[in-house]
């Protein structure tokens, strides 16, 4: 499948993300002739272990994330970042986890927004909001390059595109910038050939960044 980079908005120190920034970013896409196509939404859920003895918490993963992706409506992904595990399963795995009652879903977040076509690129700009609130927690952008599935072969063209994108956004003098962090996919057992498991890992990494920037 085509590869994608997931960028996230890094606010400048002392500032927070807001809907004005989201609006400006969307206008940037349109200013470079991105054709608005439709909506997209992915969902990320935090799972926590249910323990009889809370003092033994350290023995269990506290960073279990479940992800449902727009691009794979019948699949569900679990990521255990500390152990570098990404599991791909059918979406019925959520029902199994509910029946097991050993891990409970806590907070869920939506990544949602509009999708744009720009030549061989497909862009998705999205806000990050808790499922029961409009409280903006972050802004993300998926940059998908349709012709290529190889991470290595696409690296140059993706870097060139992101450079142009960063330059476009910087003209608006917004209090922050987009960042791209490339996970070490090999540590997760993933190859150069891009898959939705790669996407799930990128979401987990971005989530960790969003949490860190809120803390800071």
């Amino acid at each position: 499948m085509p590869l994608k980079w997931l960028l996230h908005w890094q606010p400048n120190a002392g500032t927070t993300v807001n809907s004005q920034i989201l609006s400006e970013v969307s206008q940037c896409v349109e200013s470079i002739n991105g054709a608005k196509e439709g909506r997209w939404k992915s969902t990320l859920t935090f799972y926590r272990p249910v323990l009889r003895d809370q003092t033994l918490q350290a023995e269990y993963p506290r960073d279990c994330l479940g992800i449902s992706l727009q691009e794979q409506p019948n699949k569900y992904y679990f990521i255990l970042r500390s152990q570098r595990i990404v599991l791909e399963a059918d979406s019925t795995i959520q029902m199994i986890m509910e029946k097991l009652q050993s891990y409970k879903s806590r907070v869920s977040l939506y990544f949602e927004g509009f999708q744009y076509q720009l030549g061989d690129f497909q862009l998705r700009v999205g806000k990050v909001v808790p499922t029961h609130s409009e409280n903006l927690r972050g802004i993300v952008m998926e940059v998908e390059y349709l012709p290529i599935s190889s991470l290595d072969k696409s690296r140059q063209i993706m870097e060139d595109f992101v450079d142009i994108w960063q330059e476009t956004v910087s003209k608006r003098s917004l209090p922050g910038h987009f960042m791209h962090i490339e996970p070490n996919f090999a540590e997760y057992g993933l190859s150069d050939h891009y898959t939705s498991q790669h996407t799930a890992v990128q979401y987990a990494i971005v989530m960790a960044q969003l949490i860190a920037s809120v803390r800071n």
């Binding site: 249910v50 323990l51 399963a89 059918d90 019925t92 199994i96």
Partner: protein
């Protein structure tokens, strides 16, 4: 949900059963070689203990994994009266690192089995699957190549069909009706309600083998 009945048959009569099922089905059997790992939650995990099964299909060129959760059986006076077990089941395909995933969550291997045999699929009022398998245990951890039968000379027959809360009575009726075809060779009942082998099985098997053209 699924509806289930089980029975046992002596290995010497399995060939006759296969002839019978082939005759009813018309489509060749599907070979089965499934490594089943039963995982249970560690002592601290969950308010109540939980169990999940991982099934690895070794018959595929690239082994495929399924996660299976078997829930409670339907209860109540109505359930007592029907001869078929109705229970909740949820399955999910999963990537091959699923065992490592559950170990990391805090699940432990309780036991593992290798089921070897075959299956036939029927559409007779319900999507019925009949599996005939020898159940084998591994002498060393995950050593599927060195598995030995748990009950030598006896194989397990399972008749299952998926169901929903809307249609389970029809599915139960379809299974009960289907089981009558197999009655000469084996007695099928709810799991854990053992009825043993059928006394007339040998005669029925002999008849099937001669009719099946086996010389």
């Amino acid at each position: 949900m699924e509806c289930v009945v089980q029975g046992i048959i002596e290995t010497q009569h399995v060939e006759a059963l296969e002839i019978l099922l082939q005759g009813l089905c018309g489509v060749p059997k599907e070979r089965l070689r499934i490594h089943e790992l039963c995982l249970k939650s560690g002592p601290n995990l969950g308010a109540v203990a939980s169990e999940v099964r991982l099934l690895c299909d070794l018959e595929q060129p690239e082994p495929t994994w399924t996660v299976r959760h078997v829930g409670g059986a339907m209860r109540g006076a109505g359930a007592e009266q029907i001869s078929v077990l109705v229970r909740t089941v949820v399955e999910s395909k999963a990537s091959k690192n699923v065992l490592r995933f559950f170990y990391t969550l805090g699940y432990k291997l309780d036991h593992e089995l290798l089921r070897v045999g075959f299956a036939f699929h029927f559409q007779r009022g319900a999507q019925i699957t009949v599996t005939v398998t020898s159940v084998n245990k591994m002498l060393k951890l995950h050593a599927t190549e060195e598995a030995v039968p748990v009950t030598p000379g006896i194989q397990l027959v399972e008749v299952t069909a998926p169901a929903s809360s809307d249609n389970y009575t029809e599915v139960v009726a379809a299974i009960s009706s289907f089981c009558e075809y197999l009655a000469p060779l084996l007695h099928l009942s709810k799991p854990n309600v053992s009825a043993g082998v059928v006394p007339t099985a040998a005669a029925a098997a002999a008849s099937l083998m001669s009719n099946g053209g086996v010389t």
